[in-house]
């Protein structure tokens, strides 16, 4: 008998009293009525608490702010579907490298890149969580992981207050990364410190009109 058959047999035997579980009550909040300004305020509060950098800007200011945030970078990687106008103001000396199907950066190349710019799919204000789902403007998971500085564009239109409100906007079978601040650890005396293996700097641009 295979392990699978045996385990399933054990389960049947363990549940021979045929327990019937109660129906799941879902009385928790699934919708909210916050205004755009309130959502922005809540999200900024959470991101600052996580020690992420955050700016609230208009669509037209993106190139300027991207350049300002990445002023110390030598090279920047971006997913091939990213709106390249956003990188227009980066100084000449900064290498701009697209990660595209057919021309993927190796892990070593990513490690030598100072920063990454991505967009994002949906953001939850209440927990300060930005979700990347591998769309062409967000790229594969490695590019937002290996470079030490992640600059993430969050369209204000993609902000929701509650996690349950974000769920319908996700395609669960894509590789998803939920990001709530820069990498951190609470492993020493249960005190949180930022900056371990993931990007140690997370900058977020909340963009109106996008």
């Amino acid at each position: 008998m295979s392990a699978k058959e045996e385990i399933l047999g054990r389960i049947r035997s363990a549940l021979s009293d045929a327990p019937v579980a109660e129906e799941t009550p879902r009385e928790y909040r699934t919708s909210s009525q916050m205004s755009e300004e309130e959502l922005i305020e809540m999200l900024v509060d959470r991101l600052v608490d996580y020690k992420a950098g955050v700016e609230v800007i208009d669509n037209a200011q993106i190139p300027e702010l991207v350049a300002a945030k990445l002023k110390d970078a030598n090279s920047v990687v971006f997913p091939h579907g990213l709106d390249q106008r956003w990188l227009a103001d980066l100084p000449q000396g900064v290498a701009q490298i697209a990660d595209a199907p057919g021309s993927r950066l190796t892990v070593a190349e990513l490690d030598e890149t100072s920063a990454v710019v991505t967009s994002s799919q949906v953001t939850i204000a209440e927990s300060g969580t930005i979700i990347l789902d591998g769309e062409p403007n967000q790229g594969r998971r490695a590019i937002s992981l290996v470079p030490d500085h992640h600059l993430c564009i969050v369209p204000v239109s993609s902000i929701v207050q509650l996690l349950p409100e974000a769920m319908p906007r996700l395609t669960i079978t894509r590789p998803l990364t939920w990001i709530s601040g820069p990498s951190a650890t609470s492993d020493i005396e249960l005190e949180r410190v930022e900056g371990v293996h993931g990007p140690r700097t997370l900058d977020v641009l909340l963009v109106r009109g996008l």
Binding site: M1, A3, E6, I7, L8, G9, R10, I11, R12, A14, P19, V20, A21, E23, T24, P25, R26, E27, Y28, R29, R46, D49, Y50, P101, V107, D111, I124, S127, T129, G134, R141, A142, L145, L163, I172, T173, R174, P175, L176, T177, W178, S180, P182, S183, A184, T185, S186, D187, I188, E189, L190, E191, R192, V193, E194, G195, V196, H197, G198, P199
Partner: protein
């Protein structure tokens, strides 16, 4: 069709055992004043954080109700859900393996690693692999496993044992961690200070090359979603993302109780888990993957579905809700016993209140000294209050004490003092008349007291009481007699 063979739930093996009676282990650990100081500081810090972020959500109790019900449903339908998960995970290019116990899981993982030709693996913190003793087994097979979670790294470098499920090195303070790094980390800065940020940075440099070069990673999983075949890992440092994204082969070891019916169920657990565990609104990183994704991450993706005593726990109708545990560690963080004895006193990979029920449920109450674990609680109920999926831990502790006593009835030929006390108590307290009769002897008890009307020394097991507490001299007359004399005769 008739069922030819009905597999009987079997006990789990591996690191699930208390090696000496809990009171003995506790006695030793209580003497470790540095550990007690560290634990007190850490548990009190996390308690305050948890209370604050939980208090922020107006619907916390509704989330707990949903979480509890989803888990009860998942366990009642676990066979169907596992099959559904297998189908979906396989359809997306993943491979599913089934392991009856620790030994079988270790062998499956070893074979998979050997097939890649690699002799090194990086690991994301995983309770399941800790439980089955995977690292030790891999070592015997010539494969070196590198723990990448900071606390696991501290434990591994320090040749220590984890004492907490979330923060395995909770028993060490920053200075002790610094000392371990200085001693065990090659090429560490000899000027390393004990600032947590500097220690985290040291771990980053130490592991960076390993991550970038790793071909094989081993992980656990916080959730498996049946309807999509998705797996999830919840973490903080980015070591999880490194392991789940960069290598070519990813092997996940997961207990069968982790399966959830629907992917929407995540909306409940991703609110409950981070706030209950690290006391944060959300953990820094969560990764979700469904089989292998073209052009993104490992292309050789496996999962080992592990029983190792879980079906045994499932067969206990009063105890099976222990399998609802999402490994948040809130119960141990609030437990007054854990706070004082630390996790090592529990022997098993699973310490604290949840461990005191889960370990004996998985191994059987009669295994080694696991029968002493359900008594490691004053039944104060702080764990039940804090549990995000409302596992009634005190009730299961009491139930398992009953299992322990019943199991020992068969082996104890000579009754213990406790047996005699309980038998006598059953008679004395089984009738008002009997108790009344006994109470007539109360004035005799006064003879045991000294001039100060205190009893200071009792024999036998009652000596446990008088080692640190007096007993007042009993009254001359019970309430029962007073009532008869004063109320009924008038």
């Amino acid at each position: 069709m008739t069922q030819v063979f009905l597999g009987m739930p079997a006990a789990g093996h591996g690191n699930l055992f208390e090696e000496e009676p809990f009171p003995q282990a506790a006695h030793r650990e209580l003497g470790n004043t540095q550990m007690r100081k560290n634990l007190r500081h850490a548990t009190h810090t996390i308690r305050d954080k948890r209370v604050k972020v939980v208090g922020e959500l107006p619907d916390w109790e509704e989330l707990r109700d949903a979480g509890s019900a989803i888990k009860n449903n998942a366990m009642a339908n676990v066979e169907e859900l596992l099959l559904q998960f297998e189908k979906n995970f396989t359809a997306r290019g993943g491979t599913v393996h089934w392991a009856r116990d620790a030994t079988e899981a270790n062998k499956i993982v070893t074979e998979l690693v050997k097939e890649t030709g690699s002799t090194e693996v990086v690991k994301v913190k995983s309770m399941a692999t800790q439980e089955i003793g995977l690292n030790e087994y891999l070592e015997t097979q010539g494969i070196e496993a590198f723990e990448t979670d900071l606390a696991e790294l501290i434990v591994q470098l320090g040749n220590d044992k984890p004492s907490h499920i979330l923060v395995p090195a909770i028993h060490k303070n920053r200075t002790e961690v610094r000392d371990i790094f200085l001693k065990e980390m090659p090429s560490v800065d000899p000027e390393l200070t004990d600032e947590p940020a500097k220690l985290a940075e040291a771990a980053r440099s130490h592991l960076r090359k390993k991550f970038l070069a790793a071909k094989v990673a081993i992980s656990g999983a916080n959730f498996a979603l049946a309807d999509t075949g998705t797996l999830g890992v919840v973490e903080s440092e980015g070591n999880g993302r490194m392991c789940l994204t960069l290598p070519e082969t990813l092997i996940t070891v997961m207990g069968i109780e982790k399966v959830l019916p629907k992917w929407e169920d995540l909306e409940v657990f991703m609110q409950l888990l981070p706030r209950s565990s690290t006391g944060e609104r959300m953990n820094p990183y969560t990764s979700l993957w469904t089989g292998a994704s073209a052009d993104d991450g490992p292309q050789d993706v496996h999962i080992v579905l592990l029983d190792n005593g879980r079906t045994r726990a499932l067969s206990d109708r009063f105890g099976r809700t222990a399998l609802n545990c999402i490994r948040c560690s809130a119960c141990m963080n609030v437990c007054p016993v854990y706070e004082r004895t630390g996790g090592h006193a529990y022997g098993s990979t699973y310490p604290g209140p949840i461990g005191a029920i889960l370990s004996p449920l998985m191994t059987g109450i009669e295994a080694e000294d696991n029968g002493s674990l359900p008594y490691a609680s004053s039944l104060c109920g702080a764990c039940y209050d804090a549990c995000p999926v409302k596992i009634n831990i005190p009730e299961i502790l009491v139930h398992l004490r009953g299992e322990d006593v019943d199991a020992k009835r068969e082996t104890h030929k000579i009754p213990t003092q406790m047996d005699l006390m309980m038998k006598g108590g059953s008679w004395a307290l089984g009738k008002g008349k009997n108790l009344g009769l006994l109470e007539k002897a109360l004035p005799l008890g006064r003879l045991m007291a000294g001039k100060d009307k205190k009893i200071k020394k009792l024999p036998g097991i009652a000596a446990g009481w008088t080692q640190s507490r007096d007993i007042p001299a009993p009254p001359n007359k019970s309430f029962r007699d007073w009532w008869s004399d004063e109320k009924e005769s008038k």
